[in-house]
């Protein structure tokens, strides 16, 4: 197929319409929707509102609760670990604090547990891939904190709560808003290079669903800049990390507490018994389960393992009847389908347009609403269909340099520009094609302000948890989430450790879970947690969405 500036001819024709109307589209903006209009578009076009995507869980603490099919499948799968394969009389690590997951939340937790007095040799981070391999590293747009005089933590709270459809746990939303400025300050102390004005004040942009400009950024590599600083600090302190060694089940003790876990070396196939006085679950999200068949922005390791293991020990789950589809996943070219184009592109002024070059939505609605309007345009035949069958709408990126001056994209969206340039597309000259992509696990293991779960000895932080964001997370609140709650998990787990006494360790809960599956007469060949997604052979080729 012949391409002009990276696009096939028929797509270029649509781009010509976008160009013709660009000036008019910059000067006339679409207004935000009313609450009623939002509800209307969500109920008709968002996968959260469709019955076919979800069902009731038939066993466990949340029996009867509705969750996405892909999650229920794994909750109703057989535990992958056979308790008979592990010798619990031989303890390989006997420590104070086990941290499951080496992404943002886990690493922050380790730093604050250490600061709270746990000796480093009594802390162990175990992680499935490399230390820092996580969605945290990939976040681009920014992190919210209400620190401008025009803003306040109370307004931030209101945005979080409204964005989450008023279903968040209020005390968690409060912690998120109120701790935010402290976190930014901690980052300054670590040496994070935030984007600043000449006078040292932060450059702060708006994000979808935020009523004030409070998005702090580090170009479009915000997540990478944060985590490489945080990880460097952990490395300087020599916090022990065991890589390629995921926990595949928690251990419990005879008092009903979580007491560590069984690690599995995915390269040598050995088990390690890790006994710990407290355990922090920080395994992140589940984009690689491709719920509702969506492509995903997520890391290779985001397979929802933590949800499954937590459920096996009796922790309850919240809000897994919702997923966050990010409005601007890449729809073209094929090799990057599903990869994120940051919300910052809209934050800087780019407007979504249909195939006729016409705007159809306020560019910064909350993510679920914005995404639903993209799906609406495509279902109504106003989208552009790529040569491989992927639908999409335009995001008119060249507007950014027109509004803010030439060179803005190069400076503030360096990562994005580089990504498209690799496929001969110049986003300063031509729009990019986007379609919603599976981005974030809104819900998860229920925690309180101290990051305690319902099961004693088990703490949780970051994307694996539920309650912070209710039914929908806003941009810039996930980087904030892993910092706020990673910190709290480290501090409160350290406090717990000082009083805790581990009893006799056991894996009886796995036998019990297996019996529960049998009793419920569930026929399944699946095993969980799955640890890694399957993309071999034909699976390597992205399939077109079956939603059109």
């Amino acid at each position: 197929m012949k391409l002009i500036d990276g696009y096939p001819d028929y797509m270029m024709k649509s781009i010509e319409l976008v160009e013709e109307k660009r000036e008019k589209n910059i000067s006339t903006a679409v207004k935000p929707m009313t609450m009623e209009k939002r509800e209307q578009v969500l109920s008709k076009y968002h996968p959260d509102y469709m019955n076919s995507t979800k069902r009731k869980v038939s066993i466990g603490v949340d029996k009867g609760k509705i969750m996405y099919n892909g999650i229920v499948d794994l909750l109703e799968a057989k535990p992958i670990l056979n308790p008979n394969d592990v010798d619990l009389s031989k303890i390989d690590y006997d420590i104070d604090l086990l941290i499951v997951g080496g992404g943002g939340a886990g690493t922050v937790a380790s730093l604050f547990a250490y600061e709270s007095g746990i000796p480093k040799e009594n802390i162990l981070i175990v992680t499935k891939l490399r230390h820092g391999d996580a969605n945290s590293m990939m976040a681009q747009g920014g992190i919210q904190a209400a620190d401008r005089p025009e803003d306040s933590p109370a307004l931030h709270y209101l945005d979080i709560y409204g964005g989450g459809h008023f279903m968040n746990k209020p005390e968690l939303a409060r912690a998120l808003a109120l701790d935010a400025p402290k976190i930014i300050n901690w980052h300054e102390e670590l040496g994070v290079m935030y984007d600043r004005q000449d006078n040292g004040e932060f450059q702060e942009l708006s994000g979808g669903g935020t009523c004030r400009n409070r998005m702090h950024s580090a170009k479009d590599y915000t997540g990478m800049e944060l985590l490489r600083n945080i990880r460097d600090e952990a490395r300087n302190l020599e916090i022990p990390v065991s890589e390629f060694c995921p926990i595949i089940e928690f251990l419990m003790d005879d008092k009903g507490q979580v007491a560590g876990g069984i690690a599995f070396n995915i390269e040598t196939f050995e088990y390690h018994v890790i006994r710990a006085k407290a355990t922090i679950l920080a395994t992140g999200g589940s984009g690689r389960l491709h719920l509702s068949n969506y492509p995903t922005t997520n890391h290779y390791g985001a397979t929802g393992d933590g949800l499954i293991m937590a459920y096996h020990v009796g922790a309850n789950l919240l809000d897994l009847d919702t997923i966050q589809i990010h409005p601007t996943g890449d729809a073209y070219p094929e090799p990057i389908v599903g990869i994120l184009s940051t919300e910052k592109i809209r934050g800087l002024g780019a407007v979504p347009l249909n195939k006729n070059g016409d705007p159809f939505v306020f560019p910064l609605e909350p993510r679920d609403v914005e995404a639903a309007t993209f799906i609406r345009e495509c279902k109504n035949g106003k989208g552009i269909v790529t040569p491989t069958g992927m639908p999409g709408v335009w995001l008119d990126s060249p507007m950014i340099d027109i509004i803010h001056g030439e060179g803005t994209i190069e400076k503030k969206l360096a990562g994005e520009a580089r990504k498209f340039k690799r496929f001969d597309i110049d986003m300063t000259k031509h729009p990019i094609l986007v379609y919603p992509t599976l981005h974030y696990q809104n819900g998860g293991v229920e925690i309180n302000e101290k990051c305690e779960t319902k099961v004693p000895g088990l703490f949780a932080a970051g994307e694996v948890t539920g309650g912070v964001h209710g039914k929908n997370r806003l941009m810039g609140n996930s980087l904030l989430d892993y910092n706020v709650f990673g910190r709290r998990a480290g501090i409160y787990a350290a406090k717990y450790v000082k009083k805790a006494k581990a009893g006799k360790i056991t894996l009886n809960h796995i036998n019990k879970y297996n019996r529960m599956l049998e009793k419920a007469n569930i026929k399944t060949t699946k095993k969980a947690p799955i640890l890694l997604p399957e993309y071999r052979g034909e699976m390597a080729i992205s399939r077109a969405l079956d939603i059109l």
């Binding site: 028929y10 609450m35 300054e188 290079m193 009523c211 600083n229 006729n356 390597a540």
Partner: protein, 255 residues
């Protein structure tokens, strides 16, 4: 027919297009020397998966941010070795591929709180940067197209600010360090430069300092408590009627 309705008249037959492409576009690649047939249009990462491999190492974010999938390749009958991220580079015919899952370069340990940024800080902690022979191999091996040698020169000169700025997009894949004849650990050097700049050199925000003081004095605790206690209808009205800064500016996200 209007111009608008002409667009997309020829909606492509998806299934047919994919079949045609698969037949016509089979490529031969050599994964660690072994030959495999793969379709066109895949990234190196997806091509390796198509060939039947399941990644444990050398695969991370799959989006160009984590540096896990650095790949060295050569095209048959060429001499030159090239460098790329497997998740970002399209597979080409007759590529000889190998991946680099780990880089054994030593990182210095330091207490960032006890360092002082001076012209000699980087040279003291990473003295080997002085051995740079300006061969520019590091720059040529960078999959992010960063001017690696230039930021090392800045480091030698003690220009922490510029070193941090030029190196900012580094994904720490380590290819630079693997190619360097002087055993410089470029990506570790620049990590230190950026931390020094962020902590000591950039001007701090006065707004943030003021807000921290207010939070310390519990200025907002009452306001949030009131919001939490409001009944649902009231808070929904409040949310709907709140003033949106970006909308009023008419210049969304202006900075």
């Amino acid at each position: 027919m209007s111009k608008e309705s002409q667009v997309l008249v020829e909606k492509p037959d998806i299934k047919k297009a994919a079949d045609v492409e698969k037949k016509a576009g089979a490529l031969e690649v050599f994964i660690m020397g072994k030959s495999y047939q793969v379709p066109t249009g895949l990234t190196i990462m997806k091509a390796i998966e198509y060939a039947g491999y399941r990644f444990i190492r050398s695969c991370g974010c799959r989006a160009g941010f984590c540096g896990a999938c650095s790949t060295v390749y050569r095209i048959e009958n060429e001499q030159k070795l090239s460098f790329a991220l497997a998740c970002q580079k399209l597979v080409e015919d007759k590529m000889y591929l190998v991946q680099l899952p780990f880089v054994p370069a030593a990182k210095a340990e330091y207490d960032i709180g006890k360092l002082k940024p001076s012209e000699s800080t980087l040279l003291t902690i990473y003295p080997e940067i002085a051995r740079c022979v300006s061969c520019n191999t590091c720059t040529k091996s960078c999959p992010q197209d960063i001017e690696v040698m230039k930021y090392i020169q800045m480091a030698i000169r003690g220009d922490i600010k510029r070193c941090a700025e030029i190196s900012f997009d580094c994904i720490q894949c380590g290819l630079c360090a693997m190619r360097c004849p002087a055993d410089i650990k470029h990506y570790h050097v620049s990590q230190l430069a950026r931390r020094l700049r962020g902590k000591y050199i950039d001007t701090r925000s006065k707004n943030l300092a003021k807000r921290l003081e207010e939070i310390e004095n519990k200025k907002y605790d009452g306001d949030i408590e009131k919001l939490i206690k409001k009944d649902k209808r009231d808070i929904m009205t409040m949310y709907t009627n709140r003033r949106i800064e970006a909308e009023e500016e008419g210049d969304i996200g202006g900075d």
